[in-house]
Symmetry: C2
Subunit: 454 residues, 2 copies
């Protein structure tokens, strides 16, 4: 059925239409009828799985996306070497309340944060001081000395853009261990970065302060955060056991994966589009960020399927190591500068494969106004917010080279159910939402290619 | 946590603000922090389950929503009697290919359509003629005599509003049996109304022509529709067995359930808001339409929680029998006319508990312009399409009484994965999406109440 529909659509359009509206409709129709994004994401999630930097699965993902782009006949497909950190979680993380008057011994759902040093076998026992986020930690001061700090700041549920709620709460995850170590704490527990009350712990990046001890840092689920908090209200001498085995190893050689279709008129002007290929070491990295990678590849594949030759050079990029180092994004920008490349725009999808409602961007007023002037091309597809500030982590390092930086901006209601968890699996991605995102990115690349940003 | 946040929000706002923006923010903040919609929907889905008109579960749903609204202290809660059809599926539906050269005997995933008469024990065997929708059936003409007609028209995947794709394909489900019977067919199989290829059959309403035989009509999953179609390409003498046990019984007394908060200034002007309480007899009727019912109740509950007294009368309505008769909506309008009631607006949520992106409406130009003039109050919540034509099935019969008819307009990408299937369960509903819809409806009721439509 899909094939029949597609050929019906394609036949009268093998010649490039003069109308942007028609070409963009062709992009959306083709993707919604016969897109490859969903099946490619299935392969990445189900046949490879999660792929933290430096892991064998990350290497498999490099090889898979390289072969995939080669199979689509892009003009060039190549690997860009980059050294990445290799953090390994090791054995199962464990957090246990030992002496609750009410409940006795209670196991909590936990995941060590990325880049942490584990307790090792034997674990660690301590009393717990609960604080609300980093401000609460600061206020607690010396009280946390020798204790386990429980950073229990919730995400604000009233923010419709849940990334704002994440930004408001994630400091305690990123710097909680470093700040608590300064104050002499022996470990930290962090409330998971979720806007739901459920039993799923969320891992994520944290950065130690090299001048202080590398204390263990583990996330516990929001449900268990509520439980622990309520137990602490009644019992100040509550003791918690924690055990984790995280370890940072020697750096490893890995790669950004790059595919190109060379421009026919202005090959030196580059439009980069993609996502990050690494994920955390749980789940399948479906929304974060398999979706963005497969959408990026799909942009170029649609050009091939439609028989379109871009004026400018289109480049699909799978950046490596966004999650715990940003080495890929940093190296990509360094090499671009060294080679004197001219990126006119870089587009990243790293907010999940959800319903696209707009684009976020960073650039000059003129660049951003040009982007916003294209709004009417997108509203037929319910994509209408083209004035959101933002961009993407991996494209950020390109900023001083002057391109317009763009982030695909999907609705964010469901993202923090899955982000950095075992629940971020292929089944959590909706095919049509994913495809609409891929089509939106292709339409934007098409407009950038045809119109430029002058 | 939720309670703490809420009281922080509420304390400075116990006095009604003069600013619509602030009051609407209060509605959204309260719902997203401490809404009841999701938990109430869980009860309806998990403790009662699906509830086709005339079933014991439909009676339980009447009692539950009545008690729920009473527990919230609405001024009046009452039942409005209405006679409803009682269709019972009976034993498991069965569709089987008997003699495939390739596969031998193959069972297909099937559900009899609503209101059908079953084959009874022993079933029915026939050769199959595949046609594409009602046009294909017309073209086939006499070829279908004595055969099983297989109506295999797909939903158009390129339509971003999937309800349009549904409208384009659903005729074969609603009238396929009636039209095929005219041509002497002995049964119909219908491709499920889904825009996915999966193994889930979708039931739904169909109407016989009283002048022709009531032939059995069953939906098969899209995956099995593709399979059957491909088998038929190679083998014209394919035989299919089908067995179903549907039966229409005597009509049953049931009820619309109505809760009111009486207006303080213009009590005779009514704003009705709700959804339909009946569902099909599979799954849990979560999106269709438990979501709309619970959102409707939540509108009035939020007024109570916020301590707001409406100027006009607010009425939450759970209409009965939308799915296979529309008796509740029809009776509601008849009684309103008989009593000389004055509805200024009626709002229905019956497009699923998904992310709200706007409102559809039917009314005078002036009414619809007034609605659209409120757009800026909704865009902060990513609700931006206020010019969609539409409304709702249950409120349709009110049309000649002059109110503005409004439908909550959520994004529709995921709706037809669940619609009328065993997959329409509580877990398919996202809490925040559901709550945003409830808050959007409350904000609209608030504006209608404060501003009217003059």
């Amino acid at each position: 059925m899909k094939k029949i529909l597609l050929s019906l659509i394609l036949l009268p359009n093998l010649v490039w239409s003069q109308s942007h509206e028609e070409n963009i409709k062709l992009i959306f129709d083709t993707e919604l009828s016969n897109g490859h994004t969903y099946e490619n994401l299935r392969y990445l999630c189900k046949e490879i799985g999660n792929r933290i930097s430096g892991s064998p699965q990350a290497a498999a993902a490099v090889e898979y996306t390289k072969q995939l782009m080669e199979s689509y006949g892009f003009d060039t497909v190549y690997l860009q070497p980059v050294m990445v950190p290799k953090w390994v979680r090791g054995k199962k993380d464990e957090v246990k309340v030992l002496n609750s008057d009410k409940l006795g011994s209670v196991e909590l759902s936990a995941l060590a944060l990325g880049n942490t040093e584990g307790t090792g076998t034997g674990g660690l026992v301590g009393e717990v001081v609960e604080v609300k986020g980093l401000d609460g930690l600061k206020a607690a001061g010396d009280l946390v000395k020798g204790k386990i700090v429980f950073l229990n700041g919730p995400m604000d549920p009233t923010l419709v853009n849940t990334f704002q709620a994440y930004s408001g709460a994630v400091g305690q995850r990123g710097s909680g261990a470093a700040e608590a170590a300064k104050l002499g704490a022996k470990a930290v527990l962090v409330r998971s970065m979720s806007n739901r009350i459920d039993d799923i712990p969320h891992t994520g990046n944290q950065r130690y302060n090299p001048d202080y001890p590398k204390i263990p840092a583990l996330a516990i689920s929001t449900q268990d955060s509520e439980l622990l908090s309520s137990l602490l209200k009644d019992q100040k001498d509550l003791k918690v056991y924690l055990e984790s085995h995280g370890k940072m190893h020697e750096e490893v050689l890995s790669y950004n994966v790059i595919g190109e279709i060379r421009g026919s008129e202005r090959p030196d002007e580059i439009i980069a589009v993609g996502g990050h290929l690494d994920s955390w070491d749980v789940g399948e990295g479906a929304h974060d960020d398999g979706a963005g990678c497969m959408q990026g590849i799909e942009v170029l594949r649609l050009y091939r399927e439609l028989g379109w030759k871009p004026k400018r050079t289109l480049r699909a990029v799978m950046w490596m190591n966004e999650e715990n180092g940003l080495r890929g994004g940093t190296e990509y920008a360094r090499v671009a500068k060294e080679k004197g490349e001219n990126h006119i725009a870089a587009i990243e999808s790293d907010s999940g494969g959800f319903l696209p409602i707009g684009f976020s961007s960073t650039g000059t007023d003129k660049q951003r106004q040009k982007l916003q002037s294209w709004k009417s091309y997108f509203t037929p597809y319910n994509i209408w917010k083209l004035d959101v500030p933002g961009g993407g982590a991996d494209i950020g390092p390109l900023r001083d080279q002057g391109p317009l930086l763009v982030g695909l901006h999907p609705d964010s209601q469901r993202y923090f159910m899955y982000h950095h968890t075992a629940a971020d699996v292929f089944e959590a991605v909706d095919q049509r939402e994913l495809e609409l995102g891929a089509a939106a990115m292709t339409a934007l690349v098409y407009l950038l290619d045809r119109e430029g940003l002058e």
